[in-house]
């Protein structure tokens, strides 16, 4: 009898489970909350990166969510079940001569991240550069030409304002 009660309780819990809200987080810089599942439907609100919403229903490309008192649709491209990850900088990850055993899974932690960051060894990179197979100097030039994210965001919003007045 106790077993029956246990299983019945489990059933009830599982039945209640799907009804419990699932929290999703905005991964992109901004996310538009639309009235309908289409980018060209009216905007209800604009959410910032990291803001949480509650899942109501979903289809292939759109997720219906609630955000405070508002309900609308957000592109599934920009929502995920976990808060947005912090920016990864490989510059901060020192290279170590630490051999990983075959089959050993490197987990994410400050201790073993460094061991996973080598890429091709410096001597291999130098040889490939000398032979003309690769150009790591040009790669550094590409990195040095990177623009700041605030400048890029301002560039896009300036364009959007001009577009509205065109």
């Amino acid at each position: 009898m106790t077993t029956k009660k246990l299983l019945l309780a489990t059933c009830l819990l599982l039945l209640c489970g799907p009804a419990a809200a699932q929290t999703l987080y905005v991964q992109s810089l901004k996310a538009k909350l639309h009235a309908e599942p289409s980018s060209q439907s009216p905007q209800i609100a604009i959410l910032d990166k990291g803001e949480a919403v509650e899942l109501v229903e979903k289809n292939e490309r759109w997720i219906k969510v609630t955000h405070g008192q508002q309900t609308g649709w957000i592109s599934s491209l920009v929502l995920a079940g976990q808060p947005p990850a912090k920016k990864i900088s490989v510059m901060d990850a020192p290279v170590e001569e630490d051999a990983a055993k075959p089959g050993a899974r490197l987990r994410a932690s400050s201790n073993n991240t460094a061991a996973a960051t080598r890429g091709l060894r410096d001597d291999t990179r130098a040889r490939m550069s000398e032979e003309g197979q690769a150009d790591y100097h040009a790669l550094e030039t590409v990195k040095s030409q990177a623009v700041s994210e605030p400048d890029a965001a301002e560039f896009l919003s300036r364009g959007a304002k001009q577009g509205q007045t065109q």
Binding site: C11, A99, G163
Partner: protein, 305 residues
């Protein structure tokens, strides 16, 4: 007897104890029915979410750690350096900055906030664009000049951003073997000092170059990148038809799409049809308030001609 730990061990132990019991509950019909209901209910959310369509290594990849992302970027650096070994950078610094501003702005609206994206123009008259894992995107001068407005340039860049964000090259490597995913296999290659691992890494870089310059992405990856790009254009306020019209004008002349060596690459007709279907399903069309930024585009690109 197997050793079990934690709550799993306690449950297994309890079940085994009940099995030994003469009045074994699992043989009672009503309880067997209840047990079946429990199993079905437990599986239902995963089935509803379509998770069963994902392979195990894809599920694992959705929860990557910092080490995996660092490996992806390091590997991407080696692939990007090889691209730059074949193609020189354009010397037009104004154009480089313009493309970087546009590309970085679009990447901020994608779903890989942990990556720093880099954009560069290659001094090549052919119409082409490439991307390396981790966020390195290259577009040729020919492709920039083939665009008619900023929305079309944005379309090409978002297509490449989608290849990066969806890790298409890493999946094409098919190196996961006994590992949980291609990405975790790559992480181990990059973390190992053994010669065999270094050879495997060099081979993986070669294979990535083959995908970029020879075999191309597979059909599904190419169509997915087109789909993501168009949706991203729409969400950032650009004309959502920009990729479709760019490809309709440029792709037939692009030898890559129709050459005999590109059998896995979708033809121009297939991409056009898929994009038209997407635009119709999403009720997207070119509207007067869509941004094409033609004036700004011409100010930056025409001066480079």
């Amino acid at each position: 007897m197997k050793a079990h730990v934690g709550w799993v061990g306690r449950v297994v132990g309890w079940v085994e104890e009940r099995k030994r019991n003469a009045k074994s509950w699992v043989y009672q019909p009503s309880l067997r029915f209840l047990l079946a209901v429990v199993v079905l209910l437990a599986a239902a959310p995963a089935l509803a979410a379509g998770d069963t369509r994902l392979r195990l290594h894809q599920l694992v990849e959705n929860q990557t750690g910092e080490a995996d992302v660092v490996a992806e970027v390091r590997f991407g650096e080696d692939v990007a350096a090889r691209i730059l070994g074949r193609e020189k950078l354009s010397a037009d610094t104004n154009l480089q900055r313009y493309v970087s501003l546009l590309g970085t702005a679009l990447a901020l609206h994608a779903d890989r906030p942990e990556l720093s994206f880099y954009f560069a123009v290659l001094d090549d008259a052919a119409v082409n664009a490439y991307s390396a894992p981790g966020g390195f995107v290259f577009i040729t001068l020919g492709a920039v000049r083939a665009a008619q407005d900023e929305a079309e340039l944005a379309a090409v860049l978002t297509h490449e951003i989608a290849h990066v964000s969806r890790r298409h090259i890493v999946h094409e490597l098919n190196i996961h073997g006994a590992e949980q995913s291609d990405l975790s296999a790559l992480t181990r290659f990059l973390g190992a000092s053994a010669d065999t691992a270094r050879v495997a890494l060099a081979q993986a870089v070669d294979k990535a170059l083959d995908v970029l310059f020879d075999t191309g992405y597979n059909v599904q990856q190419e169509l997915e990148a087109d789909r993501v790009a168009t949706l991203l254009l729409a969400e950032t306020g650009y004309d959502p038809t920009a990729l479709q019209r760019f490809l309709a004008r440029v792709e037939p002349a692009d030898h890559r799409a129709d050459s005999a060596g590109m059998k896995t690459h979708p033809g121009a007709g297939q991409r056009d049809a898929a994009l038209r279907q997407l635009l119709a399903e999403e009720k997207l069309s070119a509207l007067p308030n869509n941004s094409t930024q033609q004036t700004r585009f011409e100010a930056h690109v025409k001066t480079s001609r």
